[in-house]
């Protein structure tokens, strides 16, 4: 077969014989490893899946070879070649394929779904290209700190149809971030050809829409890939912003081991087989007189043996122990709790306490920064960031495009890079487009990749402002259902600042829920300590002592609960009000010990009732406090509907003092 020739021109021409051998070796390793894995998979020796990138070795090795060692790569399940060139070992890969305890994902995800962050590869997840915003966030951190790190956000052409990719590349363009977007266009998204994926002739044509440069290159020409990648990375490193590289290539096999790829016609296959990246590389190396065919054969034999040995070894390694699963959901905090004698105070309302907390956190730690819509010059829709843009500037109080998924994902990347990002959602209703990043990336990073993600997502929740169904949700149960994230919901200025400080200092993702009706509630002003202090996450508080009924609530319902308790005290019914303050982790102890005293429990919430926090608390008490109950557990909640606009409807939706009083009287 006639081989298409390749020649060294740019940066690749400066590479030494040893450097070229290392690149060749990584390509050959990928091919032989994936070939072996495919055979094992088809022979029933391997569970899960294999996603061979055979045929794309030049794209993968070339991307990695064009990057610096400290540069970060966010890719897909078909990027083992990049991982190998970045230094991930055969043993690490083998352990992951067998789901072993010491593997990169500790058995929590299989096959090529892993990253080794310390070696510069981000965690691989199945929804693609979900690591793109994470890479963008890492680049953001790099831009802030001047670390010179470039992030590469890689995916196949199919994933470029997603909003996630669009938001990522758009944000990177707007913020001029050091990101290189690479797209390995291997002709098929699983089975779907380019025509069904995008309307432009090329993926790269879309770069114009983001105001960034782009190139289309031969992804099977190792030299061209190295040259263009190197150029793009260095340009980004110098502050010239992101670029897009479309690497046109071809995978020899199907999407996965089970896919015979019958959708590829023979003509196409023949065209690409003449451009086999390894054959072209070998041909060029022989032509240049650098290496001989015998050396290639000898290397292949050595690698084959090494691969077999690594796989056999991995099989014998320890399996993960199910006992560690729950413990490993959250990273332990290693920094001490911030102490404050609280002697210096100032009267603040709820939102002032939040702004004060943000200000002091940013002043105290330059790694703390904020992202969100209209939070900079405009100082936020509710003015929570008042004065902060002027004080800390556009690199720490970042006005983002309308890209909740994009900037929430970017917070994950920035947190991994050592920052403490605080994301503001203009309304917590807009968490829905960000949920993929929160649950796929933020919530799973520590569990699956062993890297903690200290980030806070804050914003206004709750109804009562005549804002209708899209500016009023109480999202606590929606969020709390996902393992791996903390959820806090303060009800007063003191707790608001204290929990914010604790959230920013927590090594895990914290969803910080503010209630917009409390922001400027006149009677909620109180003395708030100046200087940092913390309210411990996971600890509730008895806000009113009582003996007859335990009323558990949080956030905007705490004032309602207190008022109802006051009404009932005049009828000699003594209500104990507990503000749980944190939803996850739930302070079960404070609820159970109060029920032990009162024997009656009512849970009051603004969230809708079905499958909610009230249901969860009810379940906890039914399980662990059953023998202390003197009445069935009551829930006071809105009806199971959306939040309506018309004042008469909204007022009927939100639990009122009268409704709570009436319900509690039932507990006699």
């Amino acid at each position: 077969m006639q081989i298409e020739k390749i020649t060294r021109k740019g940066y690749s021409a400066s590479l030494s014989k040893d450097q070229l051998w290392e690149i060749y070796k990584s390509m050959k390793t990928q091919r032989l490893l994936e070939d072996r894995l495919l055979k094992m998979y088809k022979g029933g020796q391997l569970s899960g899946a294999v996603y061979p990138g055979i045929g794309q070795e030049a794209s993968m090795a070339g991307i990695a070879a064009g990057m610096n060692e400290k540069d970060i790569f966010g890719g897909t399940h078909r990027d083992l070649g990049v991982q190998i060139k970045k230094g991930v070992t055969l043993k690490e890969i083998a352990l992951n394929f067998f789901g072993k305890h010491d593997g990169p994902s500790k058995g929590r995800d299989g096959n090529s779904h892993f990253g080794v962050v310390d070696k510069g590869t981000l965690m691989v997840v199945s929804p693609l290209p979900d690591s793109a915003p994470v890479a963008v966030g890492w680049a953001l951190a790099s831009q802030q700190s001047g670390s010179g790190v470039v992030a590469v956000a890689n995916c196949g052409e199919g994933a470029t149809a997603t909003g996630t990719w669009h938001e990522s590349i758009n944000m990177a363009g707007v913020l001029n971030l050091p990101v290189v977007f690479t797209v390995q266009n291997n002709q098929f998204a699983y089975s779907s050809p380019n025509e069904t994926e995008f309307g432009t002739p090329n993926v790269a044509d879309r770069a114009a829409g983001y105001g960034i440069p782009a190139k289309i290159i031969d992804g099977n020409d190792i030299y061209e890939v190295i040259d263009v990648m190197h150029e793009a990375c260095e340009s980004a490193r110098e502050g010239n912003g992101p670029s897009l590289i479309e690497l046109v290539t071809f995978r020899h096999y199907g999407h996965a081991g089970h896919d015979p790829a019958e959708y590829v016609n023979e003509e196409v296959r023949d065209f690409w087989m003449k451009r086999d990246p390894i054959a072209r590389f070998e041909d060029s190396l022989v032509e240049e007189g650098l290496f001989s065919t015998e050396q290639f054969v000898s290397l292949a034999e050595d690698l084959e043996a090494e691969i077999r040995e690594a796989l056999e070894w991995a099989k014998t390694q320890d399996d993960p122990d199910p006992i560690n699963e729950v413990e490993d959901m959250f990273a332990d905090r290693t920094t001490p709790t911030i102490s404050n004698d609280e002697s210096d105070t100032k009267t603040m309302n709820y939102i002032e306490a939040i702004t004060n907390g943000l200000d002091e956190l940013m002043e105290n730690d330059e790694n703390v920064f904020m992202m969100g819509e209209d939070i900079g010059v405009f100082e936020g829709a509710f003015k929570a960031t008042k004065g902060l843009f002027n004080k800390y500037g556009p690199f720490r109080v970042i006005d983002t495009s309308i890209s909740e998924g994009g900037f929430t994902g970017a917070a994950v990347g920035a947190a991994l890079a050592g920052k403490k990002p605080i994301v503001e959602l203009q309304f917590y209703d807009f968490v829905y487009p960000a949920l993929d990043q929160i649950t796929t990336e933020a919530a799973k990073y520590y569990w699956k990749a062993g890297k903690s993600v200290p980030m806070v997502v804050r914003g206004p929740t709750g109804a009562g402002t005549r804002s209708g169904p899209f500016h009023s949700i109480s999202p606590e149960s929606l969020l709390a259902h996902h393992p791996g994230i903390r959820v806090v919901a303060p009800s007063n200025p003191y707790d608001a600042k204290g929990l914010l400080v604790a959230a920013v200092n927590d090594p895990n993702p914290v969803m910080y829920l503010e209630h917009k009706k409390l922001y400027r509630k006149p009677d909620l002003k109180m003395e708030v300590p100046l200087g940092l202090y913390e309210v411990e996450i996971g600890k509730g508080k008895v806000v009113r002592q009582g003996t007859d009924i335990t009323l558990v609530t949080w956030s905007g319902m705490v004032p309602v609960a207190n008022e109802a308790a006051e009404v009932l005290s005049k009828e000699n019914i003594s209500v104990e009000v507990i503000d749980i303050r944190t939803i996850v982790p739930l302070d079960e102890e404070i609820i159970l010990s109060s029920v032990e005293k009162t024997s009656n429990l009512c849970i009051l919430q603004e969230d809708v009732p079905f499958s909610s926090i009230a249901s969860e608390i009810s379940s906890v008490v039914a399980e662990k406090g059953f023998w202390n109950l003197d009445n069935p557990i009551l829930k006071v909640t809105p009806p199971n509907t959306h939040i309506p606009f018309a004042p008469v409807l909204e007022d009927a939706f939100i639990p009122s003092v009268e409704k709570v009083v009436k319900a509690l009287k039932e507990l006699q």
């Binding site: 024997s599 023998w627 202390n628 003197d630 009445n631 006699q668």
Partner: protein, 429 residues
């Protein structure tokens, strides 16, 4: 004193019954043994006699309702002279007033005491919360002495705590009173599921399905030469009809031969309970005969102790039982306790039938039509010739869980041998 008449258990396997018709109404005076209602069960439709004297104060179920055995049916304001304050069933015999002794037949309705009016101890009807139960138990509180101050007089935690702190009431060592059963009788009354299916059809349907699900049905058959019987029958037919008022069919012959076969192969005359590991070989032979109710259903009449009959006796018994069943005038004994069943399909001109076993039998015999057919017969000199003879098939469905094909065929061959070779004329002369 109010007393309650409950749904009787008419037969061991009966679990429920349907109220067909009330024969009394509220205010009626009834005397012991007066019929008060008609019920229908799996086994029988029958009248229920009143177990005691009294005035009907309440009918607790409606006509058409199906209720479980033991469910309350009717409330009587009892006659002091004829009733007792405690349930008769639990009353020790020696203390029972002779006058109050009811018919002790187990098929008569049970009587039980029932507090229709509020008893002094209303707290028994109150729900006790978990914490009240716990505290009462921990402190040995006599719950009946606690005054409830909660909603509708409910005993609250505070009420118990008051007792504990006062040191009173901690005298009971009895268990906390169990919550009385909810008024579930009413709720458990289930309506007839469809008006289009008769009770009898429903019963048949259920029994058929249960049988199919229980036994491993296998059918086998054999050809029988009835020529000798036909000769005897032809000879005695007219006289028999004249003397007895009904025709002499093949069935009594087959029945008698079957009884003999059952005595020879007792395993065919048995019941088999796999679940409990019990296989009961019956020492009496109660022969079931399937009786078609003029195409309105099927009942199995029982010839109790069938091995005590001769040919005439069994012929008469079959005829009588069939008539009782068709006229709906049968008693429980006429339809229960069969140990083996014959289904007389030949009377409807069948060729071959595979009947379903009548549980808890382990086999069922089907008679098929007897017809004149060409048969190869051997003369004494050994030569073959074709003769016209009355022949018919006998088939048997048996439960392969209990025995195997050899037994079934030995059993059939025994019957065949008897039918073909017994001296039947002796039975009739």
């Amino acid at each position: 004193m109010s007393q309650i008449v409950t749904m009787p258990q008419l037969g061991e396997t009966v679990t429920e019954g349907t109220i067909l018709r009330w024969l009394v109404k509220v205010g009626d005076e009834v005397k012991e043994d007066d019929p008060i209602l008609e019920i229908s069960t799996d086994k029988v439709d029958t009248e229920v006699p009143s177990p005691f004297n009294g005035t009907v104060s309440n009918l607790l179920v409606e006509e058409g309702e199906t209720v479980e055995v033991g469910a309350s049916l009717l409330e009587l304001d009892g006659d002091k002279t004829n009733t007792n304050d405690t349930p008769l069933k639990e009353e020790p015999k020696e203390e029972t007033n002779e006058e109050n002794v009811q018919d002790t037949s187990p098929k008569v309705a049970e009587v039980q005491n029932h507090n229709i009016s509020k008893t002094p101890n209303e707290k028994q009807n109150l729900k006790l919360s978990p914490v009240v139960r716990k505290l009462a138990s921990e402190h040995n509180i006599d719950i009946e002495k606690v005054q409830g101050t909660g909603k509708d007089g409910r005993i609250k935690r505070q009420d118990i705590e008051k007792i504990i702190s006062s040191g009173q009431g901690m005298i009971s060592t009895e268990k906390i009173a169990e919550q009385p059963p909810q008024e579930k009788e009413k709720e458990m009354l289930t309506k007839e599921s469809s008006n289009n299916i008769s009770r009898l059809r429903k019963r048949i349907a259920e029994n058929m399905i249960i049988s199919k699900q229980t036994s491993a049905h296998v059918m086998t058959s054999i050809e029988v030469d009835f020529e000798n019987i036909e000769i005897v029958r032809a000879k005695h037919k007219a006289k028999f009809k004249e003397e007895n008022g009904f025709s002499l069919t093949y069935l009594p012959f087959i029945s008698l031969a079957t009884v003999s076969a059952l005595r020879e192969y007792p395993v065919v005359n048995s019941s088999f309970d796999l679940e409990n590991g019990l296989h009961e070989i019956h020492n009496h032979i109660n022969l079931g005969i399937a009786v078609d109710l003029n195409q309105q259903g099927l009942l199995v009449g029982t010839l109790q102790e069938a091995d005590s009959f001769n040919l005439k006796g069994i012929a008469r018994k079959i005829s009588e039982t069939s008539k009782l069943l068709r006229d709906g005038k049968y008693g429980l004994d006429d339809v229960s306790g069969s140990t083996f069943t014959i289904s007389n399909n030949g009377s409807f001109n069948s060729f071959l039938t595979s009947p379903i076993i009548n549980q808890p039998n382990v086999a069922i015999l089907s008679t098929e039509s007897v017809k004149k057919r060409p048969v190869v017969v051997q003369a004494q000199d050994g030569s073959d010739s074709i003769a016209i003879r009355h022949t018919g098939i006998l088939s048997i469905t048996w439960d392969h869980r209990v025995f195997d094909g050899s037994v079934a065929l030995l059993f059939l061959n025994f019957i065949k041998e008897r039918l073909e070779n017994a001296d039947w004329s002796q039975e009739l002369d």
